[in-house]
């Protein structure tokens, strides 16, 4: 009992330190005064924002909470429709299917590149985003968008393994992707449900590049994933918060920023970056083609780059900021946290996802469907089954007709 109370107290203290930047509050700069924030006010402008789940500061009733959307609406008089997606691939499918007009999307770099190639993004008018000046130069003109015409970085991070210290044997090496294939943890492993991250892990485990286009290597990765499937408890995305937080599983690969939140909420959880190397990702704000309010979208992007907003978002979601100014205002404790801001050594070994050629993407999609579905069987089963059903149906109907005739006689 004492132990539990102690743990609870510890958790509260950490939470307190984390969520409520008491000292920082007064020092945070207010919104830029020389920017015409409310130029679209009163015109009934509605902005459709499509974001990852748990990827913006919201008011959960805690003291000193910051509701990003509400603040934006109050400041600009633009109404926001805020919805979530769970993975880059889902976002892509939703946009590709068409029928929905979003104004702001926040894909990761490889998806930005793919969307640029497929002409799915609008160019951003940077004159409307003076807050680009806050950006760390290291996050301007990244490879996926060299001229920074389509995207503005929002958050970045790495991928690592979140594990429960009470369930994982300290002898086992958590700093390797191999642990996700360790049979000791059968049914204790959660895995990414999106293809790129899942394949990425398998490729790294095998010692290949994230961006391989070699069919044999991808086939090998698929085989590894199929083998791993026997040990996997569930394929998830943000369900990880619930499952890892509740001690439902021992190991799960996930994004560093979420690991910051989870380790703060549950002291049993820890985080490790495998030494084979990991993925470095940058999620960027983009405006998809067909957006109805491009200017409002640009105002939104500029708002998200405001230091005050950036600081609150960082505290809330735990991801790492690409903004130099925001980083200055963050508590030292946050900036020194190796989960969110890892050593140069980790970053050196990290690899960025690149946009893959169409054929490779298609291959990965197919292989992923095969991994999740139990693929592989003789090519004649569907037709055979169909014929069987038709035969049964005809047979029964004939039998019934005959019976009727006999009864009639």
């Amino acid at each position: 009992m004492m132990k539990r109370i102690f743990a609870l107290a510890l958790m509260l203290i950490t939470l307190f330190a984390w969520c409520i930047p008491v000292s920082a509050e007064d020092e945070l700069p207010d919104y830029a005064a020389d920017y015409d924030w409310d130029r679209l006010a009163g015109q009934n402008v509605v902005l459709n924002v499509y974001n990852w789940g748990e990827y913006i500061s919201v008011d959960e009733g805690e003291e000193d909470a910051f509701d990003t959307i509400a603040e934006f609406e109050a400041l600009t008089g633009i109404k926001v429709n805020y919805t979530n997606f769970a993975s880059n691939e889902e976002l892509y499918a939703k946009l590709k299917n068409g029928g929905t007009a979003y104004d702001i999307i926040i894909p990761s770099e490889y998806m930005v590149a793919r969307m640029i190639n497929e002409g799915m993004l609008e160019t951003i008018n940077m004159d409307n985003i003076p807050n680009m000046k806050h950006m760390d130069p290291g996050f301007v003109g990244l490879d996926h968008d060299p001229d920074n015409r389509y995207s503005v970085a929002y958050m970045w991070g790495t991928v690592g393994i979140i594990y429960n210290t009470t369930l994982v044997d300290p002898e086992d090496d958590v700093e390797s992707w191999d642990i996700l294939w360790n049979e000791k943890y059968a049914n204790d492993i959660l895995m990414f449900s999106n293809s790129r991250d899942a394949f990425g892990i398998a490729l790294k485990k095998l010692g290949y590049s994230y961006n391989t286009t070699d069919e044999r290597e991808l086939q090998e990765a698929a085989a590894a994933l199929k083998e791993q499937k026997l040990l996997v408890q569930a394929y998830v995305m943000d369900e990880i918060f619930d499952k890892m937080g509740g001690g439902e599983a021992a190991l799960a690969p996930y994004y560093a920023g979420d690991a910051v939140t989870m380790t703060a909420e549950n002291p049993d959880l820890a985080y490790a970056v495998p030494r084979e190397g990991t993925n470095l990702f940058v999620d960027s704000m983009c405006i998809p083609k067909g957006a109805k309010n491009k200017e409002a979208a640009e105002i939104f992007i500029n708002f998200m780059c405001e230091p005050k907003v950036g600081v609150y978002n960082c505290y809330y979601i735990g991801y790492s900021t690409p903004s130099a100014t925001v980083k200055e205002y963050l508590d030292a404790e946050v900036v020194e946290n190796p989960i969110a801001y890892p050593d140069q050594e980790v970053l050196d070994k990290a690899e960025v996802y690149l946009a893959l050629p169409d054929a490779t993407t298609k291959l990965i999609d197919n292989l992923w469907t095969e991994v999740l579905g139990m693929a592989g069987s003789s090519p004649w089963m569907v037709p055979a089954m169909m014929v069987g059903c038709i035969a049964a149906s005809v047979g029964i109907n004939l039998w019934r007709a005959r019976k009727k005739r006999l009864n009639g006689e």
């Binding site: 459709n48 789940g53 429709n81 919805t83 769970a86 029928g99 007009a101 943000d238 619930d242 509740g246």
Partner: protein
């Protein structure tokens, strides 16, 4: 002894049906965010629920869409039933067969096919597409409830009304409509129910601005699940319970007393068996 065993069996089945619901309700009063540890009693989640704009907005969306879709479906379906009733046998069977399609087709196939249609027609996914989709899967229920009432109706009544000087529209209003009214009402209520509850078809046909409650709940179950959802389900459960009790009581009242007596008598006979 046998009766006791029966009671026990029924108790078990109902326990199975109700356990998850009790869990939801109990958790709506749980001070802890965890779903399995009880740390104290609180009304906090209810208070927060009424400040949660996402949930409230999607609830409103759900109700508006359900209402519009069921009214449209009822109008369309009732007219259709009258038309179908008067068709020749072959066309009638053909049309009824097609009407069954949305009912027996898996929801996911209906949802996907409608999404393909809307995208092909370049209709932006949103309120309009949701209403169109909901009308589509609700109409069959209206038709299939009104048709039997039309079959039961005595055709002579309509003829008699015409003979007595009614114009056809008047006869229709005064004679046919009251006869088939119970069917229309059942169809309407079924439409509302299905529309409110539908997730799969809405999932494929909703847009950025038109999330219905089931879709919001779905996106919540995919993240950190907020206990406000429990509070919402508890409230919904109580609301439905009250509605059902009222409906049942009023139905009992409506039964003529002799019918009730007859039913009771039949019952006593059955008791002996």
């Amino acid at each position: 002894m046998r009766k006791l065993a029966n009671r026990f069996y029924m108790g078990l089945v109902f326990l199975f049906l109700y356990i998850p619901i009790f869990v939801l309700i109990a958790n709506s009063f749980n001070a802890s965010k965890s779903r399995t540890v009880w740390t104290g009693f609180t009304f906090d989640w209810y208070r927060k629920l009424f400040h949660n704009e996402t949930i409230l907005k999607s609830l409103l969306n759900t109700l508006i869409i359900a209402l519009i879709a069921s009214v449209l479906a009822t109008l369309l379906g009732t007219l259709a039933a009258i038309g179908i009733y008067n068709m020749k046998k072959f066309t009638r069977n053909l049309v009824i067969n097609i009407t069954y399609l949305p009912i027996i087709n898996p929801e996911i196939v209906t949802g996907v096919s409608l999404m393909l249609l809307f995208v092909a027609l370049k209709i932006e996914l949103g309120y309009v597409t949701l209403i169109l989709a909901h009308v589509t899967f609700c109409v069959p229920y209206v038709i299939l409830n009104v048709l039997p009432k039309l079959r039961q109706m005595d055709n002579n009544l309509y003829e008699a009304a015409l003979d007595l000087g009614c114009t056809p529209p008047m006869a229709f209003r005064k004679v046919v409509i009251p006869e088939i009214m119970p069917g229309i009402m059942t169809g309407f209520l079924m439409s509302i129910t299905y529309s409110i509850d539908d997730f799969v078809i809405s999932y494929f046909t909703h847009g950025a601005t038109s999330q219905t409650l089931p879709i919001t709940i779905f996106s919540m179950t995919r993240r950190k699940v907020s206990p406000e959802v429990n509070a919402l389900s508890a409230l919904l459960f109580v609301a439905i319970l009250v509605i059902m009790i009222i409906m049942n009581v009023s139905e009992m009242r409506k039964l003529p007393s002799d019918q009730r007596r007859r039913a009771a008598k039949a019952e006593k006979k059955g008791g002996r068996a």
